[in-house]
């Protein structure tokens, strides 16, 4: 995950969407920065999952609850509707089993908040079409040889997936927050956050 992009400013996208005092499960929580911001901003009860021990250690240092597990493999242990929100922020594109993760998250959380970089972003299209290279943008900052991303999806891909699976899209926040991104999100948004419900 790119630390530069993952700045506190961008957490506002998520924090604004979450209700005060809610319970949250953060898949791929990293060092717990988002959970900390949520706890401070919205007094939430957060639990994280991350497979990296160093990240998990950082979460515990921040006094957060966390599981050092792989969220691709452990979600079946969680009960239905056991959290108000499941958050998959910047980690869906790194998942080996995104479909399973989305389905399970919708079962575990009353709502699911998903944030991912948009591969359909104009700059990405230009790089691929005119320069014939794998795109590198501020939300897709790594090169093909060092990116942790395994999935390259666009906003339209995701909306289509939700329609097909009868997943309700309750809300979409597009970044950057401009009029043109709202008009043509798949072309102009670098990053998107959806709120979903089954």
């Amino acid at each position: 995950m790119n630390k530069e992009y993952n700045s506190k400013k961008d957490y506002r996208l998520i924090i604004d969407l979450v209700e005060n005092g809610s319970s949250i499960l953060d898949l791929g929580c990293g060092s717990g920065e988002l959970m900390k911001s949520l706890s401070e901003g919205k007094n939430t009860d957060c639990t994280g999952i991350d497979r990296n021990p160093e990240m998990v250690s950082n979460c515990i240092i921040k006094k957060l609850k966390v599981f050092n597990l792989d969220f691709n493999k452990c979600l079946d242990n969680f009960n239905d509707n056991s959290y108000d929100y499941v958050i998959i922020y910047n980690s869906l594109q790194e998942s080996r089993f995104p479909e399973k993760v989305i389905t399970e998250s919708l079962r575990i959380g009353k709502k699911l908040i998903v944030g991912f970089p948009n591969f359909g972003f104009l700059s990405a299209r230009i790089q691929l079409f005119f320069r014939g290279k794998a795109p590198v943008t501020s939300s897709l900052p790594d090169e093909w040889y060092n990116t942790r991303n395994l999935r390259f999806l666009t906003i339209n891909d995701f909306i289509k997936y939700c329609r097909k699976n009868k997943i309700k899209i309750l809300h979409g926040s597009f970044y950057p927050d401009k009029i043109y991104t709202k008009l043509r999100p798949n072309l102009f948004s670098e990053y998107v956050v959806f709120v979903l419900r089954m």
Binding site: P53, S57, I60, I61, N68
Partner: protein, 374 residues
Amino acid sequence: MSISSAGIVKKRLFEFACNKNDMMILESGKKFGPITIAYETYGKLNQNKDNTILIQHTLTMDSHAAGIYENGGGSGWWDGLIGPDKAFDTEKYFIVCSNIFGGCSGSTGPSSIDPEKGHPYGTDFPFFSFSDVVKIQRVLIRSMGISKIFSVVGGSMGGMLALQWATDFPDEIGSVIPIASAWKQSPMQIALSEISRQSIINDLKWKGGDYYKSGKPDNGLALARMIGHITYMSDASMEKKFARNLKNGKFNFSFDADFEVENYLHYRGKAFVDRFDANSYLYISKALNYFDVSGDSLTNGLSGKDISFLVISFESDWLYPARQSEEMVRYMISKNIDVSYCKIESTYGHDAFLLEINEESKLIKNFLERVRNE
């Protein structure tokens, strides 16, 4: 930070079940008494009596978890974690560590004198379980006026005893930290401990456990310890520590120890027999094998209780592999129990819980603070 910042400590003895009518009834149904428990405390019990941390030791350790005795000797086995400003901060917490029932470092065990017969119990000592160990510890804790323990903590077998507390007395503890541990003894662990026991039992000097006059089964106990030590290390840690280094720089062409690693095991074995009783080893390792609080036995009593867990495992630990901790954590998740879990990256194997002090400190200190503030 200086070594032994817990300072000068003292081993104390607590005696109970001295009368015929207040004897302890063990899980096997046997009545037993009198019982002495050796223990040490570090830090001060606060006015509310709610700052107690109970430290559980491993199979072969004792109540000397921190500090040094007035007459010298080594510092405690978890000295790096216990003291002012350390993970178990003696400025904040009242820390208790007791030698378990059946042990041989001050608590009543098979090598203690049977007051009725005037000689050591030997194999007349009753078989016991971890439930018994915990029940007996509880008498000590209660005698100090403590009705709720802030945290029960332990590595390896100590972690199991901590989990036994959570199983048997969930209302009387606030948090549990099992480290490099498991919620049941696996077949591999049972098998390894049986080899250790057989090596003692097959020493002709064991004599059915009645060796206190005729001479101890040192060879068998040393062999058990050698087996144990292999399981505490990892392939990587042994490579790093010993490689193929030779003891005398050349092959002996004899059956004496050629390699450093052989020499180390012999040394460990010999050092052990001076401080440990073979019968205690047999009884405690048997109790270890009986231990199983897996599934609902642990979690049934926990639902709706205000009790938090921090489970820690180590990457290279093959004796109590992370898999076992994960199995327990995943089950706890399904029961909505407040649990955090971290698998520390370490090459030390099972011994990591005694060596990865810095990483453990960070986790434990912050977890305890979180629980304290909730």
